[in-house]
Point group: C3
Chain length 247, copies 3
């Protein structure tokens, strides 16, 4: 893919965001792209591929949000990041004259997306590469549920350190001044939020507001997912600590 | 290695192909390089190191194919890619004045190959860095065997998704119009070819013509190598489906 | 982090050293940075993050050694590399006006270190970004102990091939002409040094002077750490072979 881009746009400046997305995990890829996109230069072209449906019915897609451009499969992967950068316009990359000559059905990253990203980096417009569409797949990050009791959410990502990122944002949880909450799950509970990972003793669990903008359950110098058996989809209840009877 | 290159050729544009080759697996490295090289800009210098024999009898090597240059150990790693890009000329990188001053015997990537790649990227010729040789190691991808019965081949690579890449190319297997084949192996069989990975139900096996140009055995949203116990060297028989009695 | 750097210093040339440091392993990160820094262009800005104490009491740090600059946490990670490149001057990156506007407590890599590295790459001086300090954390690589008997050391790193890098340097071990030594540990012993990894039969252990400048225990075409159960901290005794009774 990099060779294709550089062969077609020699002045392109490439940088790798990650090669650590688990195979087929569109949500994990979408969250990592969401984490990176708003911090990148405004004229960046993002090329992302987590693409179990390659070669089938799913469309090759370009999204434009402000000056930022996103290229990849129309399976939701690009949507949260594009939405975070503005109001996305969508284009179906449906013009084979812009693909590699012998484009196949198993590696659109190389045959379809890389040529499109190169063309965009070289100054072409999405309108030249595809047809506008109104119905791109809009992947939604699961939303937490807020009630007078507290917040019910779930784990949406296990990061490379084993931190369990939830879908609860600090603004979802109303805490009294200097108050704290108990985050409980099937296999235990931790108290938080703490300001940083070393606020608990080594090996102990805690909650921090992580870099993705969500509360995450962590273990100081440890792996929260392994320690607590948490996985994507694990249910989390956050309750103000004063409502939780102490043991 | 990157520091050495940039210190000697500050205008070099570096891009990483992969850091995912299993230790010592020369064939896997050769196949990945083969997959990437023909798509890269024609004046690319490829530096590849899978080098269990570093510091021993194997020679440091440069191959030139057309305008493309390849630097690495003379153990076959570079050969298939260089051969795919033209008719390779070979040079033994035997001039220590082009190496790092204190070149050691355990990291030729840093001490020998990186300085050579930097010199080539800066415009030097292979002739300046080494002596022409006629006997570089020519690694051959194992060939399948074609008969009136069908094709007998083997698995030559397990990729990062667990797909089992075979050494059977579409042109090796004669199928009647819209015909299909059965690919059988010790632990089972799958039918193909399919046009893309989602042509089977999730968790089911199939065969696709993959991006390396070979048929590969895959599992939709799964890991074929784990599912079927396939590994490099596993024997594969491909037979036209009409010759295989259905169960 | 890369996006932040490129947004603030578009002409920066980025290259990745490694993403393979085990979580929280400051010593492993320090050794890899030490291995790379002296070979890199003299005006390189090194940004390294292995940072279990992020957001707590540990300071954000910049070290300057000659023309080389190092940015990261003040937990020792940067020290061995900076010391290898000259006499380090230390600066506490204590000026929030140079950080990202909403710098948080869990990802200083993005919010504090990347803006600092970008500013340095763009020509700012460490003096503009922070206050000089005299007490940066000085991580010392554990030293081996030399006696008339031989050398007592330990494993300080398991590399990506499973080689067990010790803290014994060739100059620590006095060998008679063409002499060899026995490196023993709880679970066995190997003889060395050998000049390269293939000096032993496949699957057999040996000792080589590795690219980090230390003796390392290796297995030809194998994984020494797994074969011998070696880990960081495993004790190693190196004795001249003539003093070791043969079995």
């Amino acid at each position: 893919m990099k060779g294709v881009i550089l062969a077609r746009c020699p002045s392109a400046l490439l940088f790798d965001l990650t090669h650590g997305i688990p195979p087929q995990d569109v949500l994990a890829g979408a969250l990592q792209l969401l984490a990176a996109a708003p911090y990148s230069p405004p004229d960046t072209v993002f090329l992302a591929v987590v693409d179990p449906g390659v070669g089938g019915a799913r469309r090759p897609l370009c999204l434009r949000s402000g000056r930022r451009l996103f290229v990849g499969p129309d399976n939701g992967l690009l949507w949260p990041a594009a939405e975070a950068c503005g109001v996305p316009e969508a284009f179906h990359l449906d013009r084979p004259e812009h693909w590699l000559p012998a484009a196949g059905a198993t590696f659109h990253g190389r045959d379809v997306f890389a040529p499109a990203a190169a063309a965009l980096a070289a100054g072409r417009l999405p309108e030249e590469l595809g047809s506008p569409i109104e119905d791109p797949v809009r992947l939604r990050i699961p939303e937490c549920s807020v009630s007078v009791e507290g917040v019910d959410g779930e784990v949406i990502l296990i990061d490379g350190y084993g931190n369990a990122v939830t879908n609860v944002r600090p603004e979802d949880l109303t805490l009294s001044n200097a108050g704290s909450a108990v985050f409980s799950f099937d296999t235990g509970a931790v108290r938080g939020p703490s300001s940083h990972y070393e606020a608990a003793a080594p090996g102990e669990g805690l909650v921090v507001a992580g870099s993705l903008g969500f509360y995450e359950i962590a273990v100081n110098r440890g792996d929260a997912a392994k320690t607590f058996g948490l996985r994507v989809g694990s249910r989390i209840k956050a309750r103000p600590a004063e409502r939780v009877p102490s043991r």
